[in-house]
Structure formats: C-alpha cells, structure tokens
C-alpha cells in the first residue's frame, strides 16, 4: 500500500534527486572508470531513472532500484539490470534502447538520445564501474527534503533590481522585473493604453463599477492638464478611498473563504447569520486592516483582547471564517460529522492561506506534498479543541443542531429575527419540558426493553422522531431570544471548546480506528525558528494564527501577494493561485514575487498599498492590443507583453448594468435575504413554496449582497461563473455559452436595466446625443462614426417620416439600450 502511494509521489517528484552514494574509491574499478561513471552514467540514472527506481524517491518499480552498486546488479523481478561486461544480458540496456516493446524506459517518453545509450553500453562493457557501495539511507522524511529544496517552502528573499536594456520604460521596481523577463525572452512591452481604456480598467479592477461619464470627463481633463502620471495617481487614490473598494476586494476574499449562507449538500439548511461575516470582510478591506491582523482575527478573534463590546462583537464575527464552510447536516453519526467539520476547517485554512491543503493527509501522508498524517492530526487537535457555532436548528431535514454564537449587545446592531412575547417564550419552555419528560420516559422504556422487562409505556419510532424534531425546533427558537423574549444578536463563529486535548491519529482516517495521540502543532515542513508553543490549556488557534502570520512564514505573504496580482492582471505570478504545492505551477517571475512578498510584510501587510503599487506600474498601464509575434512566442501572456483582455466577473456585469441605468443602490442592505425572508425554510423548496422568494435577485443593491445559497445561486451569478461557494476559489472560470445570451436578451432583470438606461437617455435632446451618451456610459468611449450611424439607423428604422424631427421612439430606444448591455464589449475589459 505504502509503496503504491509513494509511487504516485514519484511521478511527480520534482525535487532534484540528490542521491549521493559513498565517496569511497572502489578498489577494483579504475579511476578512469569511476570518472566515466560520474560524468556520463550517474547523471543519466539520476535524471531519467531514479524517479521510479530509488530509495530517495521511495519507489522501486518492478522491485528494481538503480541507486547503488548492489541494487543495480541484483536487479528486480526481471533479473539483473546490469551484468558487468555483458550488455546483451543487461535489462537496463534492453529497456532504454526500446528493443522490447513491453519494456520501454523511461516510460511514456522519447527514447534517450543514442549517445546516452551508447554511454550506458560502453559503461557495462567496461565492467560497470560503480562507486556507490553504501546503500542510501532509507526513509528520510519527505518534509525534511522538501523544506530544504522546494521553492515555496524557503523564505522569500528580496532581489535587487535586474538590469534592463530599455531604461526609459520602467516606472516602478515592478516594471524592471517584468521588462527584464521580457527582454530575456526577446519580447517587448506594449505601448500605454489610451487614458479612457485605462480608466475603465482601473474602475472595474478597484471598485467593480464602470466610471461615470463625469468621472471620464474629469479624468481626461486631468490627463490633458497635469499628465497621465498624476491623473492616474489621483484616480487610484480616490478609488482606494471609496467604500466600493471593500465591496469588490472583500468579495475576492469571500471567494477564498468559501463564504455561503447555507450548509450545502443534500439537506442544504440556511445559515441566517452568515452575512455578518460578509460585512466584516468588506469593512476590513475598506479599513485596510493589515492582512496579518485580518487573518489573526478570522482564526482567533475570540481570543484577542478588546477594549469595547463593539470590538468584541467584531472579533467574534471574524471567526465566522471557520464556521461558514459546507456541512453535511444529513450525517447520521455526530462523531463523523464533527470529524468532517474539522477536516473542512483544515482544508479551508491551509488552502486559503498557504495555497496547499494539509487535508489531503487525513487518510494517508500527502501524495504530492510534504504533509504527513501527523501534521494533519496535529492541526485536527487544534480544531477539535474549538467549538464551532453554525446556528442551524434540528428539523425534519436536519439531523444536526448547531448552536448560534451570541454577540454582546451593542447599540445599533442589526438583528433580523423577531422577538417573542413573554407568554410565547414561557409556552415554548413548558412544551420543551414536557418533551424532555417524554424523552426520559422513552429512555426508561428502552432501558427496560434491553434488560428484558416490560416497559411501563410503549413508544413507536414516530414518537421518537416527533420528540426529537419538536424539541430541536423549540431549542432553536429559544436560542434566538433572551428569557424575556427579546431577539438576541447572533453570529456564526468559534470559541475554545470546554475540552482542550490532542487527538489520536486515525488509521486511514477512520473514526473507529484511533491510533497514537498527536500533540497539537503545525506542519513540520513549514516549521519556523520562532514558532509559538501551544499551551496545554489552549486550543492552539491563536498560535496557529501567529505561526501563519509570522514574518518568517514562507507562504502566507507570497500567497496573498500572488492573489492580489491575479486580480489586477488576470493571472497570478504563480498561475495556480490556490496551489503552491509540487503539482502547482512554478512562478513566472520568482524574484518579483519574492520581492513583493518581502516588501508587503515590511510595509505592514497593507493590501491597499500593494494594489496602488500594481495599479501605478507601467506594466499595468500597457495596452491589451494583440501582437502576432509576441502571441506566437507567449500565447498565455505569462511574461506580460501586454495586459490580458478579461471578461468581467458576474458581479461587475450586474453592477455595471445597475450603474449605467442609474438604478444602483450603493447602500448596504440590512443583512441578507436569507436572514430576512428565507429563514430556516428548506432551500430546496424555492420555486415551489409560495412563502419563499422565487427570484433570488430582486434587489438593486450591489451583487455582493445577493444571497449566496449553495447550489441555488441567483441566475446572474450562476451563469457568469461565480466562485463555487463550497470550494476555496482564488481564480474563477470564464465560460462563454448561449444560456448567458438568453439571460442578457430575455431576463426581466436586464430588461429593467435597459428601461432605466433608456429613461436616462431620453433626457438628451437628439438621437445622436443619446447614442453618444449611451456609448460613453456603457463603454467609456465615444462611438466611432460607423457605430453611430448603425445605431441611428436602428433607432429610426421603423418610424422615420421625411422632414419630421425624430422623436424619442421609446420602444426602439429601449431595444437599443438592451443591445448595448448585451454587447460583448460591455462585459469585457481591454
């Protein structure tokens, strides 16, 4: 079993195989022979064979190792790989020369070059001189090698500015790194984009909304008078100060935090208090809470000092990060449920913050990365010593009750659920007491049956279910109000559990097979010199957060810097933004990523500061224009010879339509539709139960405030590639399918936006002015002559009678407006 797992690792083994045998001279081998082995043979074996045939890789396919003198001569299942002096009898040569159709090595690759095969043959003829007398030490832990060798586990180092040929182009250190890479690949950067194109790009990237026509005129004027540099700097500063910045960038974090307002899976029970965490994230991004502090609050807010009740409340809400994940509320076994919650927390924390999942090591050591089962259960102990409050009541569709977390009373705090009259509270309490009595009788009856007596009273399964559901429901009701019936402020989140303890490693992840207890701690491969120790009476969440946000941590800063880069440029420096492990991609600009990460920490983990830096780089300012030669040499634009063209995210498409129709409501709504209306009714009945809203998109607020119900997203989010809310998602997909067109052409939502835009345009004096205004609003540019005439033709096509001044044809104008909202240009960025 173990062997097979390791075999898998070998396929991916990216760590340079460092096999070094004994350096001792071998008596019977000549110095020339040894030299030949060292220069010609060893490198070949290391490069092409050790992956599947060495102690280092942990794999011996066909029971064959090639990493010692003894092993290569003893051979594997087929016999000796090398028979000194006899190439014909040496399987190694047969395999590499592809002489046997069933044994072609290395597998699934081109045959080795003929010179290499000739060298091996010659070596065998020479008697296979081989100084590797000592067997390599087996089973060095994978993490130890990895933390030494793998790029992402070494601390980032800032680099000095690389030399560039074109010294005029760079405007910031970033540009030096980018240009030097371009020059290295014989590419050149693109010219600056037009100011109006840049303005649209900036607005969508920073606040997720199009620039207004006033923004545009003001900006173009500033460019004219003060030049592009200062106009851009002023614009960027203004956008960073706008509260819409947090709406857009908070949403980026919510993608990573797999934020949602329901449990998902079959039961799919709503989380009516999840929205508090959503608002918290938006506020943090607006306040530019340092990223290390932001993480600290989300992982251990409940353990941080506070100087006011409102700060305490904020810190408790922050821990919602650990509670909003998907949960299998159908689980039959509460123990299994609990283990799954912990697993989900480990996965979300590691994947979101260090872009790798330790959760893979639940049942076996990580297949590709240096995380062991011990690492997993060390983290599991931390979360097992934590109580998660998710606030779902027991009901016919929910077997697992989850307490809500009570917040301190703070003035002005929103509470969405209703208070109860005192009589109602008392009635519920007495009902509950009765049910508990009944439960007691049932338990007694059960005990009687088991001990062979006749129970005093008989109960059916229905009785048992009724008592279970009803008590659960009432407990749920009572948890939401004070003794006098007043609605309590509640949230999702975590606190330290009553029992603080290490957990046992579970063999194959099976809760029925506990093994040795593992002390709470952090993954070995990422251990730091100054990492905090976990006190016996603490869960270790605070220390986990401190470890993750340590200035020495190799991954945390790199990962967030890369995520921010991804959002500004459409692709990360590490393209696999959620995977910095060995199966992830390598950075396209490693020195740049490291330098940015080091500076990010030095600059107090300020996200706004980094966004500003990127937005004002020359790299960001490039045009997105296609250049054929550059495309042929770098089709994915990994080296940034231009700015990549991007489709807008679902939220920006919807918010953009609301903005140009002047219908947008920028106010934050009270809570969420889930908390206000849906409550704890089953999500699956949306569309069938009349008490539930059929349309999840019935508001004019920004899209971040739409309900995020797992597996039941509002149409616009579902169609335009919203982040799957059950997964940590640093990079969204972009699909382009006809059902998106149906939404843009036929949905009442888009038609209503077209009406708004048409109403706005009707105020202009002439059709020509209407068309011009429409283009400026929708695309931040004036129409070309050809587009203007085509649009005018469309407006007048039915009604124009000669000599008569054109009146507003409201029906055609409406159709034109919708057409513009549906154009590809509206939802794409240049």
């Amino acid at each position: 079993m173990n062997l097979r797992l390791m075999l898998v690792c070998a396929i991916f083994a990216i760590l340079p195989a460092l096999a070094r045998g004994s350096e001792n001279e071998v008596p019977e081998d000549s110095a020339a022979g040894i030299a030949f082995f060292e220069t010609k043979v060893r490198p070949l074996l290391v490069k092409h064979c050790y992956e599947c045939h060495s102690t280092e890789s942990g794999v011996a396919d066909g029971e064959l190792r090639l990493d010692s003198r003894g092993a290569i001569r003893n051979g594997g299942t087929r016999g000796p790989a090398v028979v000194p002096g006899d190439p014909e009898a040496s399987w190694l040569l047969t395999a590499v020369s592809h002489a046997d159709a069933d044994l072609k090595m290395p597998p699934k690759r081109e045959r080795l070059p003929s010179e290499a095969i000739a060298d091996l043959k010659k070596w065998i003829e020479m008697g296979a001189p081989d100084p590797r007398l000592t067997e390599p030490a087996a089973n060095k832990p994978a993490w130890e090698k990895a933390s030494r060798n793998f790029w992402a586990y070494r601390a980032p180092q800032a680099s000095s500015l690389p030399r560039v040929k074109d010294r005029q182009w760079p405007k910031s250190p970033i540009d030096h790194f980018v240009l030097s890479k371009l020059e290295e690949h014989e590419l050149s950067p693109s010219t600056d984009a037009e100011p109006q194109v840049l303005l649209r790009r900036l607005h969508f990237d920073l606040v997720g909304l199009p620039p207004s026509s006033e923004d545009r005129s003001r900006f173009l004027e500033q460019v004219k008078t003060g030049g592009l540099d200062s106009a851009l700097a002023a614009e960027v500063d203004e956008l960073l100060e706008s509260s819409e910045f947090g709406v857009r960038w908070g949403r980026h974090w919510l993608d990573v935090a797999r934020y949602a307002e329901s449990s998902g899976t079959e039961a799919n029970i709503t989380f009516p208090y999840a929205w508090r965490y959503r608002d918290y994230c938006i506020d943090c991004l607006n306040d530019d809470v340092p990223f290390d502090r932001f993480l600290l609050e989300q992982l251990a807010g409940d353990l941080l000092p506070y100087d006011s009740e409102s700060e305490r409340s904020r810190l408790l809400i922050a821990t919602g990060f650990l509670a909003v994940g998907p949960k299998n509320l159908d689980a039959v076994d509460p123990k299994q449920f609990h283990a799954d919650v912990i697993d989900e927390q480990i996965d979300a924390v590691t994947r979101s913050i260090i872009a790798d999942s330790v959760a893979c090591a639940r049942c076996h050591d990580h297949k590709f990365d240096p995380f062991t089962m011990s690492d997993y259960y060390a983290l599991a102990g931390i979360f097992a010593s934590t109580k998660t409050f998710f606030g779902t009541a027991v009901s016919p569709s929910n077997r697992i009750g989850g307490d809500p977390l009570r917040l301190p009373q703070v003035a002005g705090q929103k509470v969405l659920h209703a208070s109860l009259p005192l009589e109602k509270v008392q009635a519920l309490k007495s009902q509950l007491a009765k049910l508990r009595d009944e439960k007691q009788e049932m338990d007694d009856a059960l005990k009687a049956v088991f001990s062979g007596k006749t129970p005093a009273k008989k109960f059916t399964l229905q009785d048992a279910l009724r008592v279970f559901w009803q008590s659960g429901g009432i407990e749920g009701e009572l948890e939401k109000v004070s003794d006098s019936g007043e609605a309590l402020p509640l949230t999702m989140g975590v606190l330290e559990a009553e029992d603080i303890s290490d957990v046992a490693l579970l063999e194959r992840g099976d809760i029925k097979k506990p093994g040795a207890t593992v002390p709470r701690g952090f993954p070995q491969a990422l251990r730091l010199e100054d990492q905090p120790a976990i006190p016996d009476d603490r869960s270790g969440r605070l220390q986990l957060a401190q470890w993750l946000t340590s200035r020495q941590h190799p991954l945390t800063a790199r990962v967030i810097v890369n995520r921010i880069w991804h959002h500004m440029f459409g692709a990360g420096i590490v393209a696999t933004v959620d995977n910095f492990g060995s199966t992830g991609e390598r950075p396209s600009h490693p020195e740049l990523l490291d330098t940015l990460a080091v500076e990010f920490v030095q600059n107090g983990w300020s996200i706004k500061r980094l966004v500003r830096q990127l937005a004002l780089s020359r790299t960001y300012r490039q045009s997105s224009e296609y250049r054929h030669d550059s495309f042929l040499s770098d089709p994915e634009n990994r080296f940034l010879w231009r700015v990549s063209k991007r489709r807008l995210e679902a939220e920006s498409i919807r918010d953009g339509m609301l903005a140009v129709s002047e219908q947008i409501d920028l106010e934050r709504p009270a809570g969420s539709l889930v908390g206000r209306v849906i409550g704890d009714r089953p999500v699956s009945l949306i569309g069938l139960d009349k008490r539930l809203p059929a349309d999840l998109d019935g508001c004019l607020n920004r899209s971040v405030y739409l309900p995020v119900i797992r597996d039941r997203l509002p149409d616009v989010l579902d169609l335009f590639d919203f982040a799957e809310p059950s997964l940590v998602t640093g990079s969204r997909e972009t699909t382009n399918v006809p059902i998106q067109a149906h939404y843009l052409l036929n949905s009442p939502f888009v038609q209503d936006r077209a009406k708004g835009l048409a109403k706005r345009l009707a105020q202009e004096a002439t059709d020509e002015q209407r068309v011009k205004k429409a283009f400026v609003l929708c695309f931040s540019r004036e129409p070309e002559e050809i587009e203007l005439r085509r649009s005018l033709e469309f407006l007048n096509c039915e009604t124009k009678s000669p000599g008569e001044p054109a009146k507003v044809d409201s029906r055609q104008l409406l159709s034109l407006c919708q057409a513009l909202l549906a154009t590809a240009e509206f939802r794409n960025l240049d």
Binding site: M1, R4, V8, I11, K108, A267, N268, K367, F368, S397, R508, G509, K513, T583, E625, Y626, F631, P635, K645, P682, S684, L685, I686, G687, L688, D715, E724, S726, L727, E733, T734, T735, N736, V737, P738, I739, Q740, A741, H742, Y743, L745, N746, S747, Q751, E784, E785, I786, E787, R790, F794, C797, L814, S815, Q818, A819, L820, T823, A824, E825, N828
Partner: protein, 475 residues
C-alpha cells in the same frame, strides 16, 4: 489534415475574410452589408463553425452519450469478477477486501456482473467491457481532468469539445455539446471547456435543480422547482424585433472584434448569441419531460421520491437530446462513487440510483433504432484497490479498472482486456486514457492523429503524442 479542411469550410473562412476586409478600411455600408450577408449565409448553413463536417472515414457512431461516474466506481464489485480476491481475502492474505457482492454470468456472452447492477446485467449482450483501463494519477481532480481532456497538467479542450469541433452538429438550433449536472470541483468547467478551441465548442451546462428525494416523497412533489433552462422567452419583443436587436448586437460585436484583431471571447459571444436565438424555438419542448408517456417515465424510474428519479430524468433528457441531434451529451451521476468507507451499503446505494435508468436508456435507444449510431459510454476517472481501506472500503486505483461502451460500432457482448487475479493492475491488453480517447474519436470517424487545431504555432490534438485505437473492440 482536418485543420486545413476546416479552413476551407465556407462559413469559417467567410467570416475571417469579412473581418479582414472590413478591417482594411471598407466603409460603413460595406460593413453592415457584409455582416448581414454573412449572417444570412450563417442562418442558411447553420452557424458556420457548427455546421456538420466531413469525417476522415466512415463513422460508426454519430453521437456520444457519456454516463460519467464521478468518484471512481469499484470494478471488482461491479464487473471485474475476481474469485481469487475473495479466496485470498478469506485466507487472510495481505489486506485484501473480498467483494461483498455476489456475481453471476449473464446473457449469451456470459459476462460477469455483480448483483448490484441487476438491470444492467440484462443488457450485457449489448455491452462491450474494457477491463484493462489505466490512467496516470490516482487522485480525483487530476484523473477526472485527464479523463475529460487527456492532460491533467495543462488546460486542454475536453473530449466533447474535440468531438464537436471534428464533426460539427446535426442540429444547429441546439448546442452541440451539453453537460447535465457536472461537478463543480475536480476541475469544474475545464472538464467541458473548449480551452483554445473556439468558444462555440464548449459544453453548455444544464443544472437540474432537483429537490432531494426525501422531500419529494414527503411532499409528493414530482416536479422540478423550475425548468433547467430559464429565460427562453422574451416578454417585450416579437421574434422579428429581437432578430433586429440581435443584428445590432452582432454588428457592434463584429466591429469590436475587428478592432481587436484576435479576441476569442468576442468571437465566442458572436457565435453563442446566434445559437441562443435559434435555441429559443427548440429548447423548451426539448426539456419538457411531461411530453413523455407514463410508461416511459416508469421505464426510466422517474417519479416522486424514487431513488432513480434524478438519474432517470437525466438519462431521459439525454435520449431526447440525442434524438434532437446533440452531438455529445454528458450526464454526471448525481450519486458519487468514491467509496473509501462502507462500500457495501454506499456502492449499493449508487447502483440503485443508476441501474434502472441506464438499462432503460439502452433499451430505449435500441427500440428506436438509435443504438447503432449512438455510442454510450459508462466510465469513472479510475477504479479502486483490491486492498481494504478502513476495513469497509477501497482506495483509488489508477492501475487497472473497468469502463464499458455500448452501440456506436463497438463489439457487443465482448469483454476486452483483463486485470491481474486481484484486480489491481491491467495485465492483458492494457488500455490507457489516450487509447480510449483515440478509440472514441475513431468510432466517430475521426483519426485522432489528424484531428488537430493550430494554437500559437503548434498543432494540438486530444491525444497529444500518444494513443492507439483499440482495434479489438471495434465491430
């Protein structure tokens, strides 16, 4: 080369030419006139890119229905009977797990099928089993992506997209590639994506929005909460008015594309809006299962609270789509197959949800004379180990597993290849994912070495530089 053939298809070239000439400075009149001419031509020939294409040789199958078993079904418990495994497990050899299911031989072909699939067992004479599959990585996302695209490392077009690119569609009023209920994880949209192929070849996802079985039974609801596709009707504009609106959208998109020179997203939008317009007539009736007789619904196991309801609907939809001319239809099993624990109960549950619908699909296709030219594929991303995991389940196994195909030019009643005595490794006639891809394309009349697309100066293919058609299973 098909890629050069493609370039000579009139619609394809004409739009390119149009864009080129428009970009070279024709005035407004030429612009709209040509755009309209192109549209008229497209409308006559169907969308240019989607138009049916000549194959490399005579096809055996015209369409594919891919029953995707997400999670890795256990071959030793379903189709790959291993008496030695049971015996050795009983003798306490190693950590082996005996199959908890009884096996029997079925049909004239005498194929072994476990008791978990009683209805599929009745169909074995129409089925060709490949019992020697293997793939590169025993990890869900990589294996799932490799099954769909051939490569788990790089973003590549999915097999559905390649098939559609190679063949075009039989019905230009519908997407040529539809995927029902695909998983959001394991690569998500990459598994039905177009990658560098034009966007029109991307799979269109249809969610089913069904309600959980226990609710349906509890409430007696057998309807879905909403149609799987919404917004098929325009409440404001007549069809003629909408066509005019669409012409304007297209002209503006074409002009944008002209300015951008190369911009696949815009090109895709132009194609997909035209397709969307044509779909409006056909889709609502296509998706309306109420048109099916009670007997047909019963055959597929559709009904409130039935374990088979969800997959039954999907299979029935798949047959309707196949009939309507959709080229590649993929449906993902709503129950998983990743049975690390409690294999006996959980595998049985998954089988019960899918057995009857799958058998019904084969029966129905055959009765309609469609099984001859429809290739039905049943496959997961890998199989499972003969070893026990946690005593009650099995781990992932990429070294040997079973898939099956039916109809569409495969030899019926055949079991091809074999794993070792325990079912761990394919030892006889091993078939790699690349070989299977090559074979599927072959059955569709396409030579996998000639079905290429030139992207950034290199000709790419589904099978990269690998793949051999498995001649032994072709009828």
């Amino acid at each position: 080369m098909l890629s050069t053939q493609k370039a000579s298809v009139p619609g394809w070239l004409s739009r390119r030419q149009l864009l080129k000439s428009a970009a070279s400075g024709f005035g407004y009149l030429a612009f709209t006139q040509m755009a309209h001419q192109a549209a008229a031509r497209d409308a006559a020939a169907g969308s240019s890119l989607l138009a049916a294409q000549p194959t490399h040789f005579a096809p055996r199958a015209k369409r594919v229905i891919f029953l995707c078993m997400n999670g890795g079904p256990s071959h030793m418990d379903l189709f790959d009977y291993k008496p030695a495994l049971n015996q050795d497990a009983a003798n306490g050899k190693g950590n082996l797990l005996a199959s908890p299911f009884r096996f029997a031989q079925h049909g004239d072909s005498g194929a072994w099928v476990s008791e978990a699939f009683p209805k599929i067992a009745e169909k074995v004479d129409d089925i060709c089993f490949i019992k020697s599959m293997h793939t590169d990585i025993p990890n869900h996302s990589q294996a799932f992506i490799q099954m769909h695209t051939g490569s788990f490392q790089f973003a590549r077009p999915s097999i559905g997209a390649w098939s559609l690119y190679g063949l075009g569609t039989e019905n230009t009023n519908l997407p040529g590639f539809i995927t029902i209920n695909p998983p959001a994880d394991n690569g998500g949209a990459r598994n039905y994506g177009n990658s560098f192929l034009p966007a029109i070849f991307q799979g269109t996802k249809i969610g089913t929005n069904q309600i959980p079985g226990f609710y349906a039974a509890f409430l007696g609801i057998d309807q879905e909460p909403g149609p799987p596709l919404k917004n098929m009707e325009n409440r404001l504009l007549s069809t003629a008015e909408q066509r005019k609106q669409l012409d304007l959208i297209r002209d503006l998109n074409v002009r944008k594309l002209e300015r951008d020179a190369v911009h696949p997203e815009i090109e895709g939008a132009i194609e997909s809006f035209e397709l969307a317009f044509r779909m409006q007539d056909e889709v609502p009736s296509l998706l309306d299962l109420s048109a099916e007789s009670a007997a047909m619904l019963k055959l597929y196991g559709v009904g409130a609270g039935l374990a088979t309801d969800r997959f039954g609907r999907q299979c029935l939809l798949a047959r309707r789509m196949a009939e309507a001319g959709v080229r590649f239809i993929e449906i993902t099993s709503p129950v998983g197959w990743d049975h690390h624990f409690m294999l006996k109960d959980k595998l049985d549950e998954s089988c019960r949800a899918t057995d009857q619908p799958i058998a019904a699909l084969l029966t129905d296709l055959k009765a309609r004379g469609m099984l001859d030219d429809t290739l039905v594929v049943w496959a997961g991303e890998f199989g499972r180990t003969p070893d026990a995991q946690s005593g009650t389940g099995r781990d992932h196994n990429n070294k040997g597993y079973t898939i099956w195909m039916s109809g569409g030019g495969v030899k019926p009643g055949l079991s091809y290849g074999a794993t070792d005595e325990h079912g761990y490794q394919a030892v006889e006639n091993p078939v790699h994912i690349h070989d299977w891809h090559a074979t599927v394309l072959h059955l569709l009349g396409l030579d996998h070495t000639r079905l290429t697309f030139n992207y950034a100066g290199r000709d790419f293919r589904l099978t990269d530089v690998y793949g051999q058609v498995v001649g032994g299973i072709v009828a």
